[in-house]
Symmetry: C2
Amino acid sequence: MKAEILRGGEMVVDDVPDPVPGEGQVLVQTKACGICGSDLHAAKHADRMVEMTKDAVESAGGGATSMFGFDTGRDLVMGHEFAAEVLEVGPGAAGVSQGQTVVSLPVVADQRGIHAVGYSNDYPGGYAERMLLSAGICLPVPNGLDTVHAALTEPMAVGLHAVNRSEIAPGTAALVFGAGPVGLAVIAALRMKGIEPIVAADFSARRRELATTMGADEVIDPREEPAIDAWRRVDGRHPLVIFEAVGVPGVIDQAMRAAPSQTQIMVVGVCMETDHMQPFMGITKELTVKFSMAYDPMEFASTLQSIADGELDVDPLVTGTVGIDDVPQAFADLANPDAHAKIVVQP
Amino acid sequence: MKAEILRGGEMVVDDVPDPVPGEGQVLVQTKACGICGSDLHAAKHADRMVEMTKDAVESAGGGATSMFGFDTGRDLVMGHEFAAEVLEVGPGAAGVSQGQTVVSLPVVADQRGIHAVGYSNDYPGGYAERMLLSAGICLPVPNGLDTVHAALTEPMAVGLHAVNRSEIAPGTAALVFGAGPVGLAVIAALRMKGIEPIVAADFSARRRELATTMGADEVIDPREEPAIDAWRRVDGRHPLVIFEAVGVPGVIDQAMRAAPSQTQIMVVGVCMETDHMQPFMGITKELTVKFSMAYDPMEFASTLQSIADGELDVDPLVTGTVGIDDVPQAFADLANPDAHAKIVVQP
């Protein structure tokens, strides 16, 4: 089958072996798969990503992170934000049937363990025509929801998880640094939770516009007004959670410097470089810096339901669709924040 | 009156004006005053401390930190861990009487606001013969408790606050990096809360011995065994809170690298330099880094009660007592962790 492959640091289109469903697995046809910032990062810095993940896994004492190791010397088909149609139900697989449209957490199990779909050498991700999924965790897409929108379940669940993990509740304000796909998912989740005001900061006019669409009450260009000043202007009296959704060095430090006393900073932007900060800022203001990753299965399922119910309108986030051949160009296009939020691949 | 003064970056003994109690204040005779690591830091880096505090205060939006500014060009009498005897009850002051032994949060109020006793140019701290305190927040020392022990209320309350702020409860293990006065106070508070195991790491044999005395179940020299390995050896199955009580650059990063998934790192050691970390470690393991400072009035009062009741034995922490003239030598002696934990000044 045809796939977009990360091979020796290059993105190439080539054929890979047709996947055959094993015990408990289903073969699906990829209908839509969003391009994630992590994929852009992996395409450029796969070695570093694998090395850092290995370090983290070893120190974590196992757990969910242990599935993310892959061999950068072998082909990798990425893509973990997908919706797909069931083509074939494998031996012992139950709960889904042929022809059904499904989404799934991007993991698949076999006798060797659990593998990250999109970051495994053995299981191709959504930048391929077909994938293998575990039947037991596939979720049928309800309400005839379009597959492009269903594919946004995964990135939107990331925002919901960060918001849940912050334990923010009405009466607390939110300041979101960065309105890329992660920041926008956070804003949408904050809006669904009834948080106000939601103040968002981004350098890109297009992204600020999307932030407003997704539910931000106030958006600012940090070149014109510091984000914290904007929050003080429109609120300044509630407790505050700052969501760091930029993921470049220096932003956590900025958030710690800007934060009022007792503020929680929720880091959801993925920074893979060494970063700096002033512990004294944290101490004198008794800050809390929490880090958030991914989501749990309930958050994933509830996000799908919110999208299917129309409570969460993800349509504005989809700024482009491409075929497999155009993935490299899409990767390049995503470097321009004014042009795109989410590009969805339709193999 | 005689005082140990920080003057132009030097510690000198000289006379300062006799304090006169204002409205609501009491004049007290300092009986005992512990030397705190922050004082050692201020004696060396007062300008930087004031500048960083100013930055923090401005960004904090006011609050408790706003009282810590002082003018490094003027005399400063430090000392904020004190017990004292009431000499004179000022106008309108109530609740304490002459001859009573008291401790107090190291703050004093007047018509201009609240001042940090020990970090104010206007109110001398405990390295002087006499001080002014606010009658309303003085706590009588119960049970005839010795003033040297009563003076340890303040540093021990710092440990209690960090432990309270972590929300640790039985069923969760604790790993304490650093067994200086702050780490030892944390260990004592963990013990009172029934936490086990408590694993403590310090390079100094003397401090490891004190850690055991204060309640650590296992102590290790990190040159011989990584602290996290010691915890895995003696426990390794409970959730974990890591208390960072070292306060030098790199230790937060070490804690983040060592931590298992979902670990909370409570930073209570005061690092006044720029520090570094790997956000990716925080993200993949969903760590929480909380910063802790000082204590609240209830924690202060309950610490005094614990010491007076004998529940908290602080005697082992007092490794020396000196007069005002010997404070500079005591500052020098405290640089050797194998020689001292807490030196108490008896003016």
